[in-house]
């Protein structure tokens, strides 16, 4: 497992509270379905107040993992601590009170069609045995938070997907949980609705200090709201760290491929013309993050060494207030020494440089 540990001090202070405040601690979780392992030794902690995103392809074990946290799924071995209490050996009856501490939202919302919006939101409190007046008051309060007060008496079938998920979120918060589990909560929604749902989750995280563990297959979701990210592949956590750090320096192939959709990629028409050896121009990929991305890297390069240098493609994005970017630079000429100097200069400025190849003519 690659631990990204180079978070700047201010960020570290914000997302690294003392270990005793861990809401979730998983130790060497294993679960098999037949011959295939769904979880193959997962250890993980979720800290109080943070948003931890778990990303992986479908079938990577994300769903099994999140279901182990509220006992919907039992691990074959390993331990699951929720607020310091080991739950993986508890019976269904003993789990029931603990589940009031854990809210859950689902990809397909799972609202009860026969109940009105307010009755759906109030259901966890009904299950807890709270009096009706309290349930309705709490439901009204949460629908206000979700921006759906006027839909209290409506039935879920009359709501849009985004509204349904808002009801799902309100319902998950009804019993004032310590932890919110989000199971692909935005995967069935369009991009705009996804953004509004993620903004609501972020708001709740800030306002209520609610710890959120979300699973997704979309890096964009991680980028928008997660503090830390765990990348899961074939039942193992292959990468774990602050989101900006994983974005800046993805170590595993799976992470790179999941990032592919939202990070600048060398355009196909250039990539198809790349040849090894020599050419009129050399194409470099430069990954920069933090200080390296804030510095006037390209103008310094042009001052220090003879060009010409051409920016072919690239961009700098901000992840958790940290600039993270990828630049594709074309260096003219065939001079090996010159190229080495350019690479050495960029590396000295904390850029990560990769020679992608050469192109014959101008691109």
């Amino acid at each position: 497992m690659n631990q990204h540990i180079k978070a700047p001090a201010d960020l570290a202070a914000a997302s690294h509270p003392p270990a005793s405040e861990d809401v979730v601690r998983l130790i060497d979780l294993k679960r098999r379905f037949g011959a295939t392992p769904a979880l193959d030794g997962v250890s993980l902690t979720v800290r109080k107040g943070e948003i931890l995103g778990i990303i992986g392809r479908s079938g990577a074990g994300k769903s099994t993992l999140i279901r182990c946290l509220n006992g919907l799924e039992r691990p074959d071995s390993g331990e699951v601590f929720i607020e310091g209490c080991e739950i993986s050996r508890l019976g269904e009856r003993e789990l029931q009170p603990l589940r009031h501490r854990i809210g859950m939202i689902f990809q397909h919302f799972n609202l009860l069609s026969a109940k009105t919006v307010e009755d759906n939101v109030a259901l966890p409190l009904k299950i807890e045995g709270r009096p009706k007046a309290e349930r309705l008051a709490r439901a009204a309060e949460l629908l206000e938070l979700a921006g759906l007060s006027e839909k209290a008496k409506a039935y879920p079938a009359s709501l849009s997907g985004g509204q349904k998920q808002r009801v799902g979120i309100a319902r998950a918060l009804a019993a004032r949980p310590a932890l919110l589990l989000s199971d692909e909560a935005t995967s069935a929604l369009d991009p705009e609705t996804t953004r509004s749902i993620l903004a609501l989750l972020k708001d709740i995280n800030r306002q209520l200090g609610l710890t959120i563990l979300l699973i997704t297959h979309e890096m964009e979701v991680i980028r928008s709201i997660a503090d830390r990210v765990a990348v899961i592949d074939a039942g193992r956590i292959v990468e774990l760290g602050p989101v900006w750090s994983v974005f800046a320096d993805p170590r595993s192939e799976i992470t790179k491929s999941l990032l592919g959709g939202i990070r600048p990629q060398l355009p196909d028409e250039i990539a198809s013309r790349l040849v090894p050896g020599t050419g009129a121009e050399t194409i470099l990929r430069i990954d920069v993050a933090g200080e390296a991305a804030r510095a006037p890297l390209l103008s310094d390069l042009a001052t220090a060494l003879p060009g010409p240098f051409r920016l072919v493609h690239g961009g700098i994005d901000h992840v958790q207030q940290q600039p993270v970017g990828t630049l594709f630079l074309a260096v003219a000429g065939n001079d090996e020494n010159h190229l080495s100097e350019v690479i050495a200069f960029l590396k000295a400025r904390h850029g990560r440089v990769e020679v992608l190849g050469h192109v014959a003519g101008s691109v």
Partner: protein, 218 residues
Amino acid sequence: MSPVLFELLIRSIWETVLMTGSSGLISLIFGLPLGLALVATDRGGIAESLWVNRALGAIINGFRSVPFIILLVALIPVTRLIVGTSIGTWAAIVPLSIAATPYYARIAEVSLREVDHGLIEAARAMGGNRWTIIREVLVPEALPGIVAGFTVTLVTLIGASAMAGAIGAGGLGDLAIRYGYQRFETSVMVAVVIVLIILVCGIQWVGDRLVARLDHRA
């Protein structure tokens, strides 16, 4: 139609309504829990127990395979034990109920099985126990199907009650056979058929209205 025959018709309508209504109610009271038990004990159910599931299934299939006219006669000792007599309208309610209960259990089972498993999982995630899942999820979500199935069961029972004349239970079917067919009273036959059409249409109409009111799925 003579006043005597008319009086007979009215009495027969009442007997049919009584037989259908009582045995319908009994089949609902026993059939719905039986349907729930079938769904709950099946693989992946909330009270999975394949042994119980298979046993229940076998008993239900057993009762459902016996033709009703045979059941009517075969159950005479049971009927006598329960209502004290083996003839008459009340005596017919016992075999009718025993035939309709497994029938309705299967219909209810189909509706209950169609409830999205995600809803059951959501209720479990909220800390709900089996009883909560039955009361808050399974029955309310399946209610439109449960009511529609009950309508089908009532209409089937009207048909089955026609055979109850075999044990002197009376009813519209019996009237049609003895007067309309055996005594060539065509007017009685026509009247019975019209009344049955009205009864079936009425039950279906009420059932459909109720389902429309209960169904919030779309």
